[in-house]
């Protein structure tokens, strides 16, 4: 595929093939894959909220392999240091000089697992890297690879001993998607696939195979295809009417009596960019209200804050956003 002039249908087919590849390994997480692709196509970052064991790591790993991207994972803990993420200068005893050791942030897809377990200083270092797409080690400023996508996860059930991300830092995430449990049929399919995994020989012994062993090594398309898709997403037509809808929706959150904190302009930009990418994923060269509605919750919910009165009445941000009484 060439770059800018790639027909929409070809780009949509390429993206659809990636979704299907991920679907062969991970069952029932198509919406999350769509959100990951939207973040990737628009250079945004994604926050995933969900219970443990929902195959988040497997999902990101599969996507990275399918798209020929580097993948690194950092498990955030209380004793993690900023240098564990961005890297540090190490003294080389042989030469007597410092050499730069690049941290795991130097990758295309970075899975920041349980980001709220780390101290604010570490969170700040990552969020700075996300925003500026470069890191400074010692006196040297180094750009991060492109594309650079952070997929952070938050575990909503284990909040003790965690450092919740403040609103200003949550705003850095383009999308915040809440992962749900698979349906009964999907769960059955997961179990069936697991039964077929078997064992693999390793050295003198053998070990049970996991889903990670099923990930295909060969990528779909090339880096050029991804760049072409990103450019195609950037050329999806946005009508004045759609812009008007976006402005109205964002403005409503700022004037809503039950919201203390409305959406920032960054939310509107994310809504617009995300809608473009979603339109492309659905084979359209123009956005429609469906794109706006589909992404509104993921873009806006983590950016708004309820008033004390609304909280006292037991309301949730999602209910307020959906306009429920």
């Amino acid at each position: 595929m060439s770059s800018v002039h790639t027909p929409i249908s070809e780009t949509a087919e390429y993206l659809q093939a990636i979704r299907q590849r991920v679907g062969t390994i991970v069952v029932g997480q198509d919406v999350v894959v769509e959100r990951m692709l939207i973040a990737l196509l628009t250079s945004g970052h994604l926050l995933l909220e969900g219970m443990p064991g929902l195959a988040k790591t497997l999902l990101v790993n599969t996507l990275a392999r399918a798209m020929h991207l580097n993948f690194r994972r950092i498990q955030f803990t209380i004793d993690l240091l900023p240098s564990d993420i961005i890297g540090s200068e190490i003294l080389d005893e042989r030469t007597g000089s410092f050499r730069t050791h690049k941290g795991p942030a130097f990758t295309n897809l970075l899975l920041a697992d349980e980001i709220n377990r780390a101290a604010p200083k570490v969170q700040g270092a990552l969020l700075e890297a996300m925003q500026e797409r470069k890191v400074t080690i010692g006196a040297e400023s180094m750009p991060l690879p492109t594309p650079f996508l952070v997929i952070a996860t938050q575990n909503p059930i284990e909040q003790s001993g965690t450092f919740e991300l403040p609103e200003a830092q949550l705003d850095r995430f383009m999308l915040c998607h809440r992962l749900g449990y698979p349906t009964a049929l999907e769960e059955e399919e997961i179990l069936r696939r697991n039964l077929k995994l078997g064992v693999k020989r390793e050295g003198a012994g053998a070990v049970a195979r996991t889903e990670f062993d099923m990930i295909k090594e060969e990528a779909i398309g090339s880096e050029a295809d991804l760049i072409a898709a990103m450019e195609a997403a950037n050329h999806v037509h946005v009508s004045d009417v759609f812009l008007k809808h976006v402005v109205d929706v964002v403005e409503r959150t700022r004037k809503h009596p039950e919201l203390e904190l409305g959406c920032s302009p960054r939310a509107g930009i994310s809504l617009l960019k995300g809608s473009r990418a979603r339109a492309l994923l659905h084979g359209r060269d123009y956005v429609v209200p469906e794109d706006l509605f589909a992404l509104a919750e993921d873009v806006m919910l983590h950016r708004i804050r309820l008033t004390y009165e609304a909280l006292a009445e037991g309301k949730t941000a999602a209910a307020v956003l959906r306009g429920y009484p």
Binding site: H237, S239, D240, V241, F242, K244, H245, D285, V288, E290
Partner: protein, 256 residues
């Protein structure tokens, strides 16, 4: 002879005086009997045990005197007749209370009309607090039902007024026509789109319960809603702005 008459007079005088000195009062009226000497220990009024006792006696004052006391009473007679106050007093053992006569008269003053005897009457069929309350509550309930029925009729009549107004199709026709030609302002186009989406969410409960994104997906595939929704998408959002010659009347048919 004179001596005999004087003797008779002196003998009868105390009798006559005794008859005149009996204090008298009407039933229920207080009677003061003052300065009665009673020898011995202190005398008190007997406590009233029941309502049958014909006198109510109060000892108002006791003044000490030689070997006894001088008493001041207030008495109310409740039954006509001659009474002995001593019977209504109690004294410590060994004390003998002399007779203290008094009379209670039951005669009404002259000229007063006596009330006539009461006759047996019948209780009314409706009466009593409970019956009254039930009646009032029933009347209140009937009034409330009347008001509700009246309002329902009124709203139905208003609905008829609305029904007789322009239909959704009539309201949409000029807007859709202008939108198909690209003659609407951005504000008007945005309003038109919301009007159509809002119409289906109001009209169809299966669409109203869905989250907006899912509702849009359903609208885009719904046989009734899809034609206009998809046409609006083409006219309002597609970059080419090409307007296939759709029959607007056909698009508006589900809104009639």
């Amino acid at each position: 002879m004179i001596r005999l008459l004087l003797g008779l007079l002196l003998a009868l005088a105390p009798l006559h005086a005794a008859e005149e000195s009996v204090p008298t009062q009407r039933v229920g009226q207080p009677l003061r009997i003052d300065d009665i000497y009673i020898p011995g220990g202190e005398v008190k009024a007997k406590p009233r045990r029941d309502r049958k006792q014909p006198l109510v006696v109060r000892v108002m004052e006791v003044r000490p005197a030689k070997d006894g006391g001088r008493y001041f009473f207030e008495v109310q007679g409740l039954e006509a007749g001659r009474h002995n106050l001593a019977e209504y007093l109690e004294a410590p053992e060994g004390t003998v209370i002399p007779e203290i006569p008094l009379e209670t008269t039951g005669e009404l003053a002259a000229g007063l009309v006596r009330p006539h005897a009461t006759e047996k009457g019948e209780l009314p069929v409706l009466g009593g607090y409970r019956t009254k309350m039930i009646t009032i509550a029933s009347l209140w309930g009937a009034g409330l039902i009347g008001i509700l029925l009246w309002r329902k009729k009124k709203s139905a009549a208003t609905g008829e007024d609305f029904a007789s107004g322009p239909t959704m199709a009539e309201r949409l026709r000029p807007l859709v026509g202008a939108a198909s030609k690209g003659e609407l302002s951005t504000e008007e186009r945005a309003k038109l789109e919301r009007l159509v989406i809002g119409h289906w969410r109001e009209k169809r409960s299966d669409i109203a319960v869905l989250p907006p994104a899912e509702a849009m997906v359903k609208l885009r595939t719904d046989p009734e809603a899809a034609p206009l929704v998809l046409a609006l998408e083409r006219w309002l959002h597609a970059p080419t702005g090409s307007t296939p010659p759709n029959d607007i009347e056909q698009l508006l048919a589900p809104y009639a």
